[in-house]
Symmetry: C2
Subunit: 96 residues, 2 copies
């Protein structure tokens, strides 16, 4: 098992920026307490406030996948239904 | 002065992946030793190896701008001329 970096980019609809931000913030403490989570940091773009980035490192892809199946994430998806324009997710390896 | 997160996405031409990777790696130690650099971490996409991401945190935007004007970065730009397809850079604020 090797460490996994995940970079998630979430673009909120302009009228839903604060809703999406609040829902993303709700995920932080719960996720950071999960098995295998090294860091889970939320950012907002300075020029485009509708753009949020989660920068995540996990002990293994398996433990990240367990996180992806959890209840909190399902609640986030439900709460932000119709509020997101685009969502992309990249699985990466930290070179150094 | 507030802390700045920078996310740089570099897409290399398929035939230049190893060249670009080597040049990016050369930047790491020098940059990490610069004033104001909190972290400067290089990643490669697991599905698209031509995609590199630098995840950076700086003490202030001013110190990041001083970094952007340094000789090492100018050498990187020269060495990777013609080897990059796209380059994007986002200035962000870490919410938590």
């Amino acid at each position: 098992m090797s460490q996994l970096t995940v970079i998630a980019n979430i673009i909120a609809k302009t009228e839903s920026i604060e809703l999406v931000k609040a829902e993303l913030i709700k995920l932080l403490a719960v996720t950071r307490a999960e098995e295998g989570c090294i860091n889970y940091d939320l950012h907002q773009d300075n020029q485009a406030p509708e753009h949020f980035t989660l920068y995540e490192n996990w002990v293994s892809r398996e433990l990240w996948q367990a996180h992806m199946a959890n209840d909190q994430l399902a609640e986030y998806v439900k709460a932000t239904e119709g509020a997101i324009t685009t969502f992309t997710l990249n699985e990466m390896t930290q070179i150094s």
